[in-house]
Symmetry: C2
Subunit: 83 residues, 2 copies
């Protein structure tokens, strides 16, 4: 499955990356982010499905904790599906 | 259902509020946030279920867009359930 990792760039960059994955033929795209980038991931998801894509919906949203260098960091995975 | 609205205070404040709702007898608590506070909401959720509570799990996570004063703002609702 194609995955878009969200960092500290503007949300529109990641929304564009998600849209391109679907336009290149992906049926499912996973958006992943950690920490403060979680808000950007949700923005990117909403921009991609509301502005750039038709017939793509949110299949699943998972939130969980990852341990990175002995620190606990929140994380999100948003799974988008072509319907 | 009890709802905890997450803003710009530290996540631990909201995690404590969530834990208190369950300790006061709630079976379900909804954590809601918009925009940049979405990351804090996920942190608060993870802290409350990993540090403060036992037998509480994530039942559902919804992400969506709200229109506020003609601007589109991303939002999250995390539903926690006592099992």
């Amino acid at each position: 499955m194609q995955t878009v990792y969200v960092g500290d760039k503007p949300a529109i960059r990641y929304a564009t990356a998600v849209a391109m994955e679907f336009e290149n033929g992906a049926d499912e795209v996973c958006i992943k982010a950690r920490g403060r980038a979680i808000s950007t991931a949700v923005d990117a998801c909403q921009i991609s499905i509301n502005k750039f894509l038709e017939g793509v919906e949110i299949k699943d949203v998972k939130i969980f904790t990852e341990e990175i260098e002995n620190r606990n960091v929140s994380a999100i995975e948003i799974l988008l599906l072509k319907v």
